[in-house]
């Protein structure tokens, strides 16, 4: 297990390095620089001072080496768009905001989704099943920003139950959380329903039933444990999606999360910020994949970690 994890960590670093390298050169291949967002012609001297200050006067390979050197020291540099803000500070300040929202949305989405999926499976072809599947189809079809706008208009503008936008109190998180978790509820409900349907036709369920086990114990001990693997598989991309995909929601509810920072940094060619955020997202993504792989083993001992079991 330890060997497996450390091997995965090593691969993770290599993957990160590859992504960093590709992003770095792609980024510098994009036309335009941070001064472009000013939309004005600057005297050459002013440009030269600016490039010199941020090391943009050096060749791209030189900048790359410098960047890697600084990265090894844990220094991601200073934002080019927002003077005085270090990239690490920005991540430290804004990631928890996206994270809080994401974790709220994911937990609610997963729990409700799984419960709904189980209900649908056990009551299949009856009205609870139809209702759940209706919600699921709605959740998949309805983009989160449409739902967000709808929630904002009805619950905030019309009835003034929640603040329209902003960040600070728990109340501020209610609408964006609902908007974000609706999609995951739908996804998990669908996956859970079909895998529960698979499981409840297995022999061991019949055996368990024959032993006279209570329905609650049957579901918790036998059904969920065997049916949850597909749900865990889609959890990893969901976690990363919550961080990146929340840009639209963050925009609508004016939430100071990381999503808007990333889009902003690319629009403004804020090179150091683009790199910092890419590294952050990428690491997050790879780590969540690793966690999911470890979770597999815990949930289902049939999946073992050893060198001879490669994917």
């Amino acid at each position: 297990m330890l060997k497996y994890v450390s091997k995965r960590l090593l691969y993770m670093i290599i993957t990160l390095w590859v992504v960093i390298t590709i992003t770095f050169f792609l980024m510098h291949a994009m036309p335009g620089d941070p001064l472009a967002s000013l939309a004005r012609e600057l005297p050459p001297q002013v440009k030269a001072n600016y490039y010199a200050k941020y090391g943009l006067d050096k060749s791209v390979p030189q900048q790359y080496v410098l960047f890697l050197k600084n990265l090894c020291r844990g220094d991601l540099g200073e934002s080019l768009k927002y003077p005085g803000r270090s990239v690490t500070d920005t991540i430290a300040k804004h990631a928890p905001v996206s994270g809080r929202l994401g974790i709220q949305a994911i937990s609610i989405g997963v729990v409700i989704g799984i419960v709904l999926g189980i209900i649908a499976a056990f009551k299949r072809n009856r009205w609870p099943d139809h209702l759940v599947m209706f919600i699921a189809i709605l959740g998949v079809c309805l983009p989160s920003f449409v739902l967000a706008a709808l929630l904002q208009y009805v619950l905030s503008v019309k009835f003034e139950l929640f603040p329209t936008a902003g960040w600070g109190t728990g109340k501020h998180t209610v609408l964006p959380t609902i908007a974000l978790c609706f999609g995951s509820i739908a996804t998990y409900a669908r996956y859970m329903r079909s895998s529960v349907l698979d499981v409840i036709n297995q022999d061991y369920i019949l055996t368990a039933k024959a032993k006279g086990i209570s329905e609650f114990n049957l579901i918790v001990k036998h059904v969920i444990r065997n049916a949850i693997i597909p749900a865990i598989t889609i959890l990893a991309p969901q976690i990363a999606n919550v961080f990146t995909g929340s840009f639209v929601i963050e925009n609508i509810f004016a939430i100071p999360g990381l999503g808007s920072n990333l889009v902003d940094s690319i629009n403004n060619r804020d090179f150091s910020m683009i790199m910092g955020l890419t590294i952050f997202y990428c690491a997050l993504y790879i780590i969540s994949l690793l966690i999911v792989d470890i979770l597999y083993g815990i949930v289902d001992p049939r999946i073992r970690f050893s060198d001879d079991v490669q994917e």
């Binding site: 691969y11 993957t15 992504v19 590709i22 992003t23 994009m30 335009g32 620089d33 472009a36 967002s37 000013l38 939309a39 004005r40 012609e41 600057l42 005297p43 001297q45 002013v46 001072n49 600016y50 010199a52 200050k53 200073e78 768009k81 927002y82 003077p83 005085g84 803000r85 804004h94 904002q152 208009y153 905030s156 503008v157 003034e160 603040p163 329209t164 936008a165 902003g166 960040w167 600070g168 990146t244 840009f247 925009n251 609508i252 509810f253 004016a254 100071p256 808007s260 920072n261 889009v263 690319i266 629009n267 060619r269 890419t278 997202y281 990428c282 993504y285 790879i286 792989d293 994917e311």
Partner: protein, 570 residues
Amino acid sequence: MKRKLALLLALVLLLSVFTVACGKEEPAKGGDKEKVEEGPGEDVSDEDIDDEQYVTLTITEPQAIDPSKSSDIYSADILNEITEGLVRLEVGEDGGDVIAPAGAEDWDVSDDGLVWTFHLRDYEWEDGEPVTAHDFEYGMKRTINPETASVYAFLLYPIKNAEACNSGEKDLDELGVKAIDDKTLEITLEGPCAYFDKLLAFKTMYPQRKDLVEQWGDKVGSEAEYTISCGPFKLTEWTHKSELVLEKNENYWDADTVKLEKITYKVIEDPSTAYNMLSNGQIDICGVSKPEWLEKFKQRDDLVYVSEYQPSVAYQFFNQDVKLFSNANVRKAFILAIDREELLDVLYYGIGEPAYGWIPPVMKVGDKTYRDVVDEPLKKLKEENPDPKELLIKGLEELGMDPDPSKITVTMLQSGTDAESRRFAEYYQQAYETVLGINVEAEYMDWPVFLDRVQSANYELAGMGWNGDYDDPMTFMDMWITGSGMSDIQWSNKEYDELIKKAQTSLDDEERLECFKRAEEILLYEDGCISPIIYRKSSRFQYDYVKNIMRPLCASGIEFKYAYIQGRNK
């Protein structure tokens, strides 16, 4: 396999982010500038106004509250509220800008116009330290210092040796800014500059605290705690990308005039969210440009609609290196092919004014409003040439090209890739095709790419907006002299260059006005270099209880010094 998948997914993730990013650029670039109908001065007694004096509005995240390093109008907006520079820009009775003495009680100018001596009033920073001439000297030297890498350093270039100091050729001590004593500041100019007084209100001229800047280092202006006020308000809270809170600065020398206790700026990027917040009173002032919301808000009795001139023009331009556009008649045909009145209604929902000249209304030369005395050159061009297509065919013949317009295909660059950009490009496409009988293809790209293409003259036809920096036609005219310019149109005209040079060094308002008049005539009427389309105007709603705010033409935002709230809860 899984590892490869991880990498692939990470890349896809990255790509998707790029795609999202491409869709965000606005079709017309540049900051929003507005202006208000009410003037200052109107005194109200404290009994008439509300007990609660606060106002809430939207803003875009400012870069840094640092006069030297920030380059956006939002930082400048906050800086204006928390800093008392030499002067403040205010709105005069005629609606134009007035330069009001502020940190400087008065100033003398030497007869040759080169030496400006400012006499500072007694006033203090938030922490009780006096504001001195040394603070002004330090502030300007910090901006000019090449190590600061200030983007707006060029606005100080009229000052003696500023350009040389900015390039490191000369020592900063040689900069023409000197504190004679604590209360006397002397600025020496490189040459005569008729509009130098118009630059005084700019943030690059603000005082800065040497001790604090050195203590804070790179952090200056990045958080509320790294700012200091000497103006009407102070920045007390700043949650990045969320909100900024300004409170009244009790230490301000003119604190009695300031009625507002608190200004909250909410960082809201999504227009619909802002409109929703305006409609239920969570914000008091909001710029509105979407037609459906304009209609909705106009029907409300408690909201006041304000639309004012900005120092801003939307224009189309031609690359004269392209054979087709090397001919003036062809260019003029393109200029005349656009029905500006119709375009204003369709693309801008009536917000703005058709532009038949390059210098927008309300801009002044000395005390005279330029557009009041100079006719718009394109009106004459339009009268003389009722049929643009005829002009095009004439031009084609002069070029020795096939005179059949339907065989011509022009590529038009459009900044932005979203629906709004398409709406703009498709309108122009259709207008040129219908009137001139040519074919127009649109090429969409995001803003930095667009800018790269037009600045390297790698385009045929494109459009954008230009915002002036200060209240003088020079900010619109010097960009077309040979070898300079935001959009590279590959045009050079000796007479134009000489006229602008003369206007740069002359101190005679009449003479300068004549220079600009003739230069504008060459630019538009004779050579048809660019095609001004719309003089941009602001468009905002504010609740009727928000009183006495003003928006000077060349300021970066709303001036709240004189504002107050009356009747919010009635």
